[in-house]
Symmetry: C2
Amino acid sequence: MKISILGGGGFLGRKIAARLAKDGTLGGHPVTGLTLFDIAEPSRPAAGFPVASLAGDIVTLPDSAIPEGTDVVFHLAAVVSAQAEADYDLGRRVNLRGTDAVIDRCRALVAAGGKPPRVVFTSSIASFSGSQNVTVADNTRQVPGNSYGAQKAAAELILADASRRGFLDAVSLRLPTVIVRPGRPNKAASSFFSAIVREPLLGLDAELPVADDFAVWVCSPRRALDWLLHAAVMDTGKMGLDRSIDPPGISTTVAHLLQALEDVAPGAASHVKRVEDRAIAAIVSTWPPAFEALHARTLGFSAHEPVLDVIRAFIEDDLAATRAERGL
Amino acid sequence: MKISILGGGGFLGRKIAARLAKDGTLGGHPVTGLTLFDIAEPSRPAAGFPVASLAGDIVTLPDSAIPEGTDVVFHLAAVVSAQAEADYDLGRRVNLRGTDAVIDRCRALVAAGGKPPRVVFTSSIASFSGSQNVTVADNTRQVPGNSYGAQKAAAELILADASRRGFLDAVSLRLPTVIVRPGRPNKAASSFFSAIVREPLLGLDAELPVADDFAVWVCSPRRALDWLLHAAVMDTGKMGLDRSIDPPGISTTVAHLLQALEDVAPGAASHVKRVEDRAIAAIVSTWPPAFEALHARTLGFSAHEPVLDVIRAFIEDDLAATRAERGL
Ligand SMILES: NC(=O)c1ccc[n+]([C@@H]2O[C@H](COP(=O)([O-])OP(=O)(O)OC[C@H]3O[C@@H](n4cnc5c(N)ncnc54)[C@H](O)[C@@H]3O)[C@@H](O)[C@H]2O)c1
Ligand SMILES: NC(=O)c1ccc[n+]([C@@H]2O[C@H](COP(=O)([O-])OP(=O)(O)OC[C@H]3O[C@@H](n4cnc5c(N)ncnc54)[C@H](O)[C@@H]3O)[C@@H](O)[C@H]2O)c1
């Protein structure tokens, strides 16, 4: 298995790379090479197979980012929600032109006689809009309420078409908000959902820009990783023209999340400060808080663990590294 | 009302231009200027207001194609279905990058203090797929079975987002197959639906690449024109984030169409030759033959006339001109 991770220096990209390095296999096949690509050269995990690391812009993707013989491409490179909202040109460039560049590289490999690479694309629930009491069905149309979501939904369409044409073999996962994100707050509008757990566990304050009864569709990094790896090896023959999946996340509320935090670390929730932020609230309040995710279950995507386990897993997997990274 | 028609030299573009020239008004307001833009300089109708005609590529849209103060842009320029399927790069360039160019021009006008122009975009039922016995609801997700449809659906998303951002004020009409198209066969996969009526009325043979019981969602040029003009002036305040409309076409079958042709011109249907064409059949057989189109009705889009009237209207409006154009 020859694998590339575009956006390999990011949160999920690093998790995939670390997991592949640890396992040495993907879907039962030995990994024979891994290429990491990001704006800044991603750090390489120690692995029992060759790992290349490249810096560059996805829009002018160098051929070496997806070398000949690549079996799986994780296409994670993206300008995230709040940033794509603040900078329209940047979002369009990276999220749409970047995806075209991935397609063109795969297409060139196929034209040269190669097999269409599996492309695992990370779309987002931000591509949907709906009120706080909507449950989204698998065939519901995406009516995005932000530029990031519109760009993700458009990229899904273009990738599904490229799959139909045999340029590549795409699986687009519409990821829920992944919590708890380690490290520092980022430019996603959803950043606070992680911050209200992570910062208190670091002994720091965090701002909550929405009401306590705000409902949200989330998943853990462990579950996201599982889904991404499953998407990389699953049989796409059953998918037909539709290459997009709403994976089975869980629906929770801020209050429920903070209660779980209190259960795990009594007193921690007092670090959460209610500070209204209308720009952030305007973006996240259009994201539906629940999905049926029936199709994903029949396609073998694993079910989600409860919220308490999500917080415990963060402490186990990422708290120490986050503390070290931030010099705390 | 200052109006631009991009793709103004095409079938529907010429019909809109002729109608505006005849009426002198749009939505009760006098037309004060019309700009036509296409690859080749479109011919200008005689009108009681200034008409400019420009040649160029939509991807490198000159500012003069959408002059300052433009109220309405009809964005019809497109690489149609069979051609976009045959030439992926061309379809992507014109159908996606072309739409970006329209957005960027409108955005520049708004940045300079102008009002967001109404942009009437012609999407297509080719952006849906489904079997011959599906009726598409207004909130059904687009799962295109061809590149043209994927590009149209992606462009709808990007235009809706641009509307939300205030760059423009879009209405995307997912037009049914417009029959009877005058002139010559074109590169749309649906070209034969018009040819099997038009060619026999010209005394010529036409090939039918699908079975007689094949069902199809159609509209007449008269109805399409009505809808396009309504979309140009309707109140978009009620639309919210969703700027796309399935207009109320009619569902018919090839057999029904040929029966109507026989009723209007006895013997004409004998010109229709059954010649299987799998490439064409593969494209059109994924287009759903019926739509609920409920939203369109509440938004004031006019109901469709029966198929017999469609054929009579072609004879009244376009048969003589087609005969002359083709030297018959
Ligand atoms: N984390 C979440 O909650 C979440 C939810 C839904 C979807 N997603 C999607 O999952 C993917 C990964 O998410 P993440 O949390 O790891 O994001 P991240 O921001 O940590 O990683 C994205 C990476 O893309 C890189 N990138 C940005 N522009 C680039 C360019 N022009 N060229 C090359 N690389 C570029 C960034 O440098 C970054 O390392 C993204 O596509 C994101 O949109 C994430
Ligand atoms: N006619 C139908 O049955 C039908 C059905 C659904 C949707 N539509 C859509 O409606 C619109 C108009 O349809 P039509 O039947 O008038 O099509 P048409 O092909 O007659 O007109 C399209 C025009 O776009 C122009 N064009 C193509 N590439 C261009 C470029 N790079 N720069 C500038 N102009 C360019 C062409 O020269 C042509 O005149 C199209 O967007 C089409 O996709 C039509």
